[in-house]
Amino acid sequence: MNNFQSFRRLLVSATLLLACLVSLPSYAQVELNISGAEVRGIPIAIVPFKVLDGSVLEHQINEVVAFDLAASGKFEPIAAKNYLSNPSRDEEVQWKDWRFIDAEVLVIGEVWTLGPDKYEVQFQMYDIAREQRIGNGKRISGLSM
């Protein structure tokens, strides 16, 4: 009796399930295919560092960094003229501005002149795709870097 009842219950639920499946418009899981990725280095945007004391630097730090990164072959700096905004602080970052110009990595920072040939640099690095900060640092150094 018990067996019969449980069997019946199973049958009923199976039927219901089947009915549900049938009644729903059945579409196969959508499967897309993409091929042909662009082969290049990571597009990186390095915003000109903000000089907080108002002094004029002999070399733009961002340019130096961009040059170095490009030289490594792993990155492809995006020209500063394409930037939609020039943030220097974490709260100023707008993800969509950088996604728009296909930047995958963003570097922003500030510079403080401590003395002749002596600077304090503070910077932050972001993963635009995941909208995460992936690094930050603070350096006190001469321009020799």
Partner: protein, 296 residues
């Protein structure tokens, strides 16, 4: 009188006898009346004569002669009177006879009248009976007609009822058919709508699939030196607005960089081109969960 007796029938005889008796009685009464009046004078006269006669006997011849003359005269007078009386009686009788005749006539007339009356009555009765009969016949006829009419009315009503029932049946049948047709039509329309919706869904899906593929491809970049045989399969979950909510690698390419590049491409492409529910609800629903194969 005896002549008439012989002449008349028995009934008549009886009537005549009765009439005669009546007449005799009348005569008797009349006579009695006369004896009461006239005869008394007569008697007085007689007595007076007697007295005269007695006296005369002792008187002379002339006187006797005179007396005789007088007596003769008296006798004549009496005779005359007697005749007159007789005549009078005869007249009376005649009169009575006449009266009787008149009565008789009257009786006959009455009888005739009665007869006529009876005949009239009879005829009236007959007329009434006839009329009654006629009336009865008419009544019966009327009844018959009324009956026939009632019968016909009954038949008519029955026929009418039958017709009404038939019409109702027809109406029901028509309604049933119309309902069936309407249902069929609705079903057909539904099928048509379903078909069109499916078509539209297919179209919209293919359109947006291409758009999504293109959008991701536009952002996809692999580092130089990536092996060309690498393939990754991912599943992405999208919001109703097309924003990428989640990326899961189902089949890894075996290269962390490669997998990462795929993930990055999808995230960079967010929000993806996405159909609204108004464009097509099915596509809108289905495209929120898609698998993508990415081959370099």
């Amino acid at each position: 009188m005896s002549d008439r007796r012989k002449a008349g029938s028995k009934n008549r005889v009886m009537a005549y006898i009765a009439a005669a008796v009546v007449h005799l009685l009348v005569i008797a009464a009349l006579l009695y009346n006369f004896s009461n009046n006239e005869p008394r004078e007569t008697i007085d006269a007689f007595e007076a004569e007697k007295i005269d006669t007695v006296k005369a006997s002792v008187i002379d011849e002339s006187q006797i002669k005179d007396q005789e003359e007088k007596l003769k005269k008296a006798d004549l007078e009496r005779e005359r009177k007697k005749r007159e009386e007789k005549q009078r009686q005869q007249d009376e009788l005649k009169k009575i006879q006449q009266q009787a005749d008149q009565e008789q006539q009257k009786v006959i007339d009455l009888q005739n009248k009665q007869k006529l009356e009876q005949e009239k009555l009879e005829s009236q009765r007959k007329a009434i009976a006839l009329k009654k009969k006629k009336d009865e016949e008419q009544r019966k006829k009327d009844e018959q007609i009324a009956k026939q009419k009632a019968e016909a009315e009954k038949k008519r009503i029955a026929a009418l009822k039958k017709q009404v029932a038939r019409e109702e049946e027809d109406l029901r049948e028509r309604q049933r058919i119309n309902k069936l047709l309407a249902e069929e039509e609705a079903e057909r329309l539904q099928r048509e709508a379903d078909r069109r919706a499916k078509e539209r869904t297919t179209t919209v899906m293919s359109q947006y699939s291409s758009k999504i593929e293109q959008a991701i491809k536009d952002k996809w970049r692999v580092a130089p030196g990536t092996e060309s045989w690498r393939v990754a399969k991912i599943n992405i979950k999208l919001s109703p607005e097309g924003e990428v909510l989640k990326v899961v690698v189902i089949n890894s390419s075996g290269s962390q960089d490669y997998d990462r590049s795929v993930e990055t491409a999808v995230l960079q492409a967010s929000p993806l081109p996405f159909p609204t529910a108004e464009e097509d609800p099915s596509a809108h629903q289905i495209l929120q969960d898609i698998n993508i194969n990415l081959k370099q």
